[in-house]
């Protein structure tokens, strides 16, 4: 009997654990290590953040699900990896520190035969002074990154709405809190859901709404934008995005690195080197992501973290990490099997893998400050990576092969993104976007870098229905209810 240890139980980790348990059965052991007691369908946090859903609508307890699936669940955070074992242990192991199950603070070494690193990101609030300390959100802004953050955001929003109903004007600032952020989509959804809520509450005229983002143009989304077929043209997502912002009366500050957050005010620097200040009454600024800070040690106890992890703390996989100029980037730079090149029994999936470079063109301000969205690798790509690495590992554990059998390459896969612009069975709208491939391949698709028949976008009620359908479908799937494996990633 071999043991597969999965670090993390987010979209990638939970997908991996679910399929591993299904495919490996009783022949092998599946262990999941996650510091969280609950699973969170993060895309619906924006609805919690405007009071349209409760925390219990987007979360559920992991323990009973893993008990049902016969997965060994450890509520703990991974601290380090010993891929060669140690002087006292011949087998590879991870060191974990418990955060629950009555063993809080105690450490344990868990041996593994195969390891999937799907820890997701560290929410690096501390990267921007005033945005927070380390992974803890500060007091000046709100967040929708976790369900608890979103519950807090909804309370603060209600206070602002009450003020507006009393005739006060309020300024809302939504976007990214650092020049190297990703996940602009979540902030995009949040600003439009707030705008929708303010209209429903009859106070939209009391709100000044401002978008601030590290994107060099609206609609970049960390993917270098995309081109969509629209009205007989192929048009940039810049036009698509600007149109929605202008229609809803939103202002925007782009190419911005927020360098300081204070009570009611941010200061920022833009790509043209100018600095500015923006006052706010309500701000939701996405923090940058970093690796969770795991260390790696050799058999003799030496620090080999830089062998296993990239400088940003994300895990090295089969990508081409050679530093290259933007013009020399290729689709083939992106990893396919997600296998660590040094330790072949270690894989990474989701945000935890180190991308070879951004997708958006790297830019710096005139002062040299990097202001570039980092690549999005959440949602559908995360789940597909989780499933693909599990398929490879299952084949390897069952002795069918010694090499990975499945791939999930972001320059070969598409992504579907449904961005809510307001909730309501008949009044809601969302932007439904498909992009193929996620990472442009200018050799295969000269010009736009993507298949223009597979790269689409439209806004409407139907997309909102799809977002709602996905909410229920993915919660059904994550709870391993009957037929869960038939629901695609």
């Amino acid at each position: 009997m071999a043991r597969l240890v999965i670090l993390g139980a987010g979209v990638a980790g939970h997908t991996a654990a679910s399929f591993a348990a299904k495919w490996l059965g009783k022949k092998h052991e599946v262990v999941v290590v996650t510091p969280n007691s609950k699973w969170n369908w993060i895309p619906s946090n924006i609805w919690v953040g405007v009071g349209e859903m409760n925390k219990k609508d987007v979360t559920f307890d992991l323990a009973p699900i893993y008990k049902k699936a016969k997965v060994d669940y450890r509520q703990a955070k991974a601290v380090s990896i010993n891929p060669e074992g140690s002087e006292s242990k011949s087998k590879a192991f991870v060191t974990v520190e418990y955060t629950g199950q009555g063993k809080e603070g105690t450490s344990e070494e868990i041996e593994y035969d195969y390891l999937i690193n799907a820890t997701g990101p560290k929410l690096n609030f501390g990267a921007t002074p005033g945005l927070g300390e380390g992974t803890t959100m500060g007091e000046h802004t709100v967040s929708v990154c976790t369900a608890d953050h979103a519950v807090h955001a909804a309370h603060v929003l209600d206070e602002k709405i009450a003020k507006m109903k009393n005739g006060e004007e309020q300024t809302f600032l939504i976007g990214t809190g650092h020049g190297m952020c990703t996940c602009q989509g979540a902030a995009f959804e949040y600003i439009f859901n707030i705008e929708h809520k303010l209209r429903n509450e009859g106070v939209r005229d009391k709100a000044k709404m401002i978008w601030i983002s590290n994107e060099s143009f609206l609609g970049d989304f960390g993917m270098g934008g995309m081109h969509i077929k629209m009205g007989g043209y192929v048009a940039s997502s810049k036009i698509f995005a600007e149109s929605i912002y202008a229609e809803r009366g939103l202002e925007w500050i782009i190419g911005a690195h927020v360098n300081k957050v204070e009570a009611g005010k941010v200061t920022y620097e833009t790509l043209d080197g100018e600095t500015g200040e923006q006052e706010f009454d309500f701000a939701m600024l996405i923090p940058p992501f970093a690796g969770v800070g795991m260390k790696a040690y050799g058999k003799d106890g030496s620090d080999i973290t830089d062998v296993v992890f990239a400088a940003n703390g994300m895990m090295k996989v089969d990508a081409d990490y050679t530093p290259k100029d933007y013009r020399d980037w290729r689709a083939s730079d992106w990893p396919r099997t997600l296998q660590n090149p040094t330790y072949k029994n270690i894989f990474a999936a989701g945000i935890a893998f180190a991308p070879p470079h951004p997708i958006s063109k790297p830019m710096k301000s005139k002062n040299g400050t990097p202001i570039t969205p980092t690549p999005p690798r959440t949602g559908m790509p995360s789940a597909m990576m989780g499933k693909a690495v599990t398929q490879s590992i299952v084949d390897m554990m069952n002795g069918k092969t010694s090499e990975p059998t499945h791939t999930a390459c972001m320059s070969e896969m598409g992504a579907a993104c449904v961005a809510s612009a307001g909730k309501g069975l008949f009044s809601g709208t969302a932007a439904a976007m498909t992009v193929f491939p996620v990472v442009p391949d200018f050799e295969k698709y000269p010009g736009t870098g993507r298949d223009i028949n597979g790269t689409t976008g439209e806004i409407g009620l139907a997309a909102h229905w799809v977002k709602h359908l996905l909410h229920h479908a993915f919660l059904w799937k994550a709870k391993l209810k009957p037929g869960w494996a038939l629901i695609p990633e």
Partner: protein, 55 residues
Amino acid sequence: MAREHVKHIESYTPQAGTMIPLGTQKFMRTCVLWQLIRFVAINIKMTILIVKSHH
């Protein structure tokens, strides 16, 4: 009236440099019959995308 949809746009602002949807476009976005058709279309598009993405 078309002007109702653009009255909040100020000249020489970034908002003035893009396209603004008018009444028909906005109506179609929440027209239940049309959106039912789009619902089916979006699901087909996403299904094709998923099938193409699995390797």
